[in-house]
Symmetry: C2
Subunit: 374 residues, 2 copies
């Protein structure tokens, strides 16, 4: 279930092209770049050095150096930038240009510069991460399967929920398993299902009830309001899924239905139009335009957060709002959503793989508003 180190070839190509002596990345805790480059999570300072086609890692003495399929993993208690410079110097790369991600910590950049290196930024790692290999795609698909089970659990509970006091109120409180059903109870049930499937909720499970519950405070669920169940689980190798569905128990209004039709139509656009060579930003614009075509305001109601690449991070390259070209192997989180101050939110989020034979949806979650039809 663990993935190995990646990105070595892409870094070596960038180093060679830029006539650099090596590449350095520095992390001060768990982050997607270091996980990608090493294949595991480091919860500590880490210096990653690629030089002469080999990978060297330096960690502080307070962690036990893991055994990894790289040239060296050694303890060095100096700041990571100094430890990295020492590795380069050991490899007859005592001066010259060193490549690094543009977001390398400033102190590490200064340490490398004061050791005599010229620093230049490279997008090589982000670019490599944007194109998934088979194992990465499988890891995302596994997370997406678990996500489908998690949202399915919410659908099953909403489907089994009862109305305790169906009086004259326009909206009635939902009960489940003998107690009022709150956003927090539903969230815990979803997360329990995710855990049983072997994935981590990653703090990304949200339950939004109508116009309420945005601030994270638990509220009780009611009939007639759109309930958005959104998950973004992380699998054992660190790869994320993303799935959101909207349910209504005893719908009584037309807004949710119209919003749902719009989101479903927009979602289908992405399943037709995401081909290699297409413009990523154009796909995003199309998603928004298709949603708006059902009578929703681009400025106020249609979400701007239509998605982008997903992998070790919930948001990575390519974003769906730039001029990047889609390539086979991109894995995209695609979101259609409409929000209204009086009605709440309707959202459908999925993950798809861009491939030469057309886009492929990961997972098989139903899209309907009725939780009993899941």
């Amino acid at each position: 279930m663990r993935s190995g180190p990646r990105g070595g070839d892409a870094i070596d190509a960038a180093v060679s092209e830029r006539d650099a002596v090596g590449f350095v990345a520095v992390s001060g805790g768990s982050d997607p770049t270091s996980r990608y480059l090493t294949g595991r999570e480091f919860d500590c300072d880490l210096a990653f050095v690629r030089v002469d086609g080999e990978t060297h890692l330096r960690v502080p003495s307070t962690v036990e150096p893991p055994s990894l399929p790289v040239a060296s993993v050694r303890v060095d208690d100096r700041p990571p930038g100094k430890a990295a410079a020492a590795v380069l110097a050991e490899h007859d790369a005592a001066q010259g240009t060193v490549l690094a991600p543009r977001t390398i910590p400033h102190d590490a950049a200064l340490h490398l510069e004061s050791a005599g290196y010229d620093l230049a930024s490279t997008p090589a790692v982000e670019a490599a991460r944007a194109v998934k290999d088979d194992a990465e795609r499988d890891a995302i698909e596994a997370a997406q399967r678990a996500a489908t089970r998690g949202v399915g659990r919410a659908a099953a509970i909403l489907s089994a929920a009862t109305v305790e006091d169906a009086d004259n109120d326009e909206q009635s409180a939902l009960y489940w398993d003998g107690a009022p059903l709150s956003t927090e109870r539903l969230r815990r049930q979803v997360n329990t299902t995710l855990a049983a499937e072997g994935v981590d909720a990653a703090g990304a499970t949200t339950i939004r009830a109508g116009t309420r519950g945005d601030g994270g405070e638990p509220v009780e669920l009611r009939t007639g309001e759109p309930i958005v169940v959104s998950v973004g689980p992380r699998g054992p190798a660190g790869y994320r899924g993303a799935l959101a569905r909207t349910f209504v128990v005893d719908p009584d209004g037309g807004w949710e239905r119209r919003a749902h039709v719009a989101c479903d139509a927009a979602r289908k656009v992405s399943l037709v139009e995401a081909d290699p060579g297409d413009d990523a930003g154009f796909l995003g614009s199309e998603l928004r335009a298709e949603t708006a075509a059902f009578g929703f305001s681009m400025a106020d109601e249609v979400t701007r957060d239509v998605g982008g690449g997903i992998g070790l991070a919930a948001r990575e390259d390519p974003p769906l709002d730039g001029d990047r070209e889609l390539v086979a192997g991109n894995v995209l989180r695609v979101r259609a959503a409409v929000t209204h101050p009086d009605h709440g939110r309707v959202e459908l989020t999925d993950v798809l793989v861009v491939g030469d034979g057309g886009p492929r949806l990961l997972g098989d979650a139903p899209t309907g508003l009725d939780p009993s039809r899941w």
Copy 2:
């Protein structure tokens, strides 16, 4: 359940003391500093600016700006360093020294410098984070209660496990609920319990079986070997717990018992010696020395990873290997562990609060090797 923004006073004091015009932090995704400063998780580029005693946030247009109790949250699609410089310029702070964490992304530092600012690093945020207020301590304590339930679930399962084929093998496979009990099955049960308690496993749950299972590949559990159950859950406001216990089903050797006595004795040292004014590194040395006193090698067997501050990150200030002075409000993860190539590992990890009345242990997890005594 959510915590509000923190650190404003500490930043304002540092800005004033250094005669700076403001403070900038930049995050490219979820990280503990931005969570501390804003009180919520940002899964996107974020520019945090503190100027004139007010907080301003800038986010890209692809996210919906959240409503937060700060002076402004606005969209700015420029790189975060440029967006931050624009906020400073708007506040009549068009030149001068700007403070930032030493690990501010290098590109953001360069953008601030090319906008005319002198950048200086400040440890103000790390220092503020190291001293927890009551709400932070309560959040860690709640995560620790959930952690206790999670490890307790493992103890209950190990206690109920049976030996299917008690033949001549020295160690027999454990069965539970009709199937072999693997590290992965036990991990999922622990994580299911954590989720039901409302916390996130945070990818930190590990089950180590004797000398096996270090690489993350599932192995089947056996009698006679030390089984280390370690969790580090994250609560809804982002604060972490940390708990590890070691169990043996049908112990047959003396090593685990001796190692356990050593770890338990070392653990008790931390419960007596962690007082305000004490040296954090000395506490770490004492923990290691006390463990070694039972006949274990400091160089090879006693862990160097004895812990340090815990909060929004699993590792934060103060580390237990430096010369930092403990102060009331520090919350420490304290670990005693022994590892042997033939026997495996024994570990006890707890969380305690440093206070004027002496250290206080968070949680009430039993320490024994026998899971049926939990």
